[in-house]
């Protein structure tokens, strides 16, 4: 029996999704026995030319992690789409934009200005910025073009399946890989390795009255480890986030930040969280409500921490 051919790629992301695959530990050996890895730049020495040389549709499954923020990301996304039978958006960045998509609250010029001019340790009196093409004596040098707006993988190419998480938890990763090897895949377009219910369903904390009079951050309060964090005034994305991670952050006394993305049939995770949070405000007068609303310090960064690229607005006003 021929083993299915797998590819793994890393685009605009931190590399945590690669670690998520290593999180399989010794199971990785079993996985490696069942599949044939034909492309994995993070681990083996592959060049893009190796990928370009492969016949179309010769890879069975390609796992793509990372958002699309530059022309290199886009090029490899298109290449992998052409070379693979199935393309999987792996992790929060490929699926929803992830942390890199918070760049959509600003733009290329501002990002370049803060990275190459304004930071305290930068000495750039000649105001040199990265250029896509530079002519030198030896010829033309090129680097990928940096985009103004971060996109998800499926805003760039067709995607067959999605695996949420920042990063996807190890247990779910091995389940997903098994689904591809042994069968049992749901219909195309499905979200794999996650539950169909909100995180609150698997969170062990006790939920009671759901009313808050103030919003606090984790360091500003001594929390009750048994009680729902939202009820303690800590913004927890649980109600608007897909479960399946095992509520590991909550077990470590940290609120959910929303990395598993929107619930099934929800088009805008942030809008739903905004709605869920304001519905627990225990305030009836405009003045009291305004005070609570003002204490939500950064609505976009909180409600869309991982999903700005996959939201309705996608970015701040261009």
């Amino acid at each position: 029996m021929t083993k299915p051919k797998f590819a793994f790629n890393w685009a605009s992301s931190c590399g945590g999704c690669e670690i998520a695959i290593f999180e399989l530990g010794t199971k990785l050996v079993d996985v490696a026995n069942k599949i044939d890895i034909v492309f994995w730049p993070a681990v083996f020495d592959y060049k893009y030319s190796d990928l370009e040389a492969m016949p179309d549709k010769s890879i069975d499954v390609a796992f793509f992690n990372g958002a699309i923020q530059n022309s290199e990301n886009e090029h490899v996304a298109k290449l992998l789409r052409a070379k693979s039978k199935m393309l999987v958006a792996f992790g929060a960045c490929a699926y929803c934009g992830g942390i890199p998509a918070l760049a959509n609250t600003t733009n290329r010029d501002q990002i370049f200005a803060s990275s190459y001019l304004e930071t305290a340790t930068t000495d750039n009196t000649e105001k040199v910025f990265p250029q896509s093409n530079v002519q030198v004596a030896e010829g033309e040098l090129t680097i990928p073009e940096f985009y103004n707006t971060v996109k998800t993988l499926d805003q760039t190419v067709d995607v067959d399946y999605y695996v949420p998480g920042c990063p996807p938890v190890g247990e779910q990763v091995s389940k997903v890989i098994n689904q591809f090897v042994e069968g049992g895949l749901p219909s195309r377009g499905a979200v794999l390795g996650a539950s169909e219910k909100s995180l609150c369903h698997e969170c062990k904390r006790v939920k009671t009255d759901r009313k808050i009079t103030k919003i606090v951050r984790t360091y500003q309060t001594i929390q009750d480890p048994e009680k729902c964090l939202l009820e303690q005034g800590i913004i927890c994305m649980g109600p608007a986030t897909r479960g399946g991670c095992g509520s590991i952050c909550l077990d470590a006394n940290m609120p959910c930040r929303g990395c598993y993305g929107p619930l099934p049939n929800v088009i805008d995770q942030g809008g739903k969280m905004l709605s869920a949070l304001s519905s627990v405000f225990d305030a009836d007068t405009e003045e009291d409500i305004q005070k609570l609303a003002d204490s939500v310090v950064d609505p976009i960064g909180t409600f869309y921490r991982f999903s700005l690229a996959r939201s309705l607005m996608r970015r701040t006003r261009p």
Binding site: T149, G271, E286, L292, P299, M313, T316, P318
Partner: protein
């Protein structure tokens, strides 16, 4: 007689009007033949508290220049306190829309009772003029340019 045609920007405003007060108020404006701009596209909802922020974001991101949410005056809600829930959502939403760079004039929450046809007409009038002065939002087209 020569009629001079001038290109004037006509704002598209999506109006989520509660069935019990604001929609009935808008109806009264019509039956009373009060003159007001035709720029609001009314959508009847059971309660202003039913207006999920997603609806506002969807309208703005798909072509609306503004969104009007109108319901019963606080204290008069048919469902006791649905409109208080609207205020709670609206105030956080306003803060988020500030971050998105959308002017406050574009998204308004107003109270209109079933007997306030005149008030409804004046709200639509002032909102239309304010948004006309701001110009089109054109979110989708600008997103493509900003890629």
């Amino acid at each position: 007689m020569v009629i001079e045609m001038t290109e004037r920007f006509e704002p598209k405003i999506v109006g989520f009007l509660c069935k019990w007060c604001a929609y009935t108020g808008a109806d009264l404006a019509g039956t009373s033949r009060i003159k007001y701009p035709p720029n609001v596209y009314p959508i009847r909802v059971n309660c202003s508290g039913r207006v999920d922020p997603t609806l506002v974001l969807k309208a703005l991101s798909t072509g609306a220049d503004g969104v009007l949410i109108a319901g019963c005056h606080p204290g008069d809600c048919h469902y006791t306190n649905g409109n208080v829930k609207t205020i709670r959502r609206f105030m956080v939403l306003q803060k988020m829309l500030d971050q998105f760079g959308i002017e406050r004039e574009r998204v308004r929450l107003e109270w209109v009772s079933a007997s306030e046809g005149e008030r409804y007409a004046r709200i639509v009038e002032s909102m239309t003029e304010e948004i006309r002065a701001l110009g089109p939002l054109n979110w989708k087209a600008k997103l493509e340019v900003a890629a």
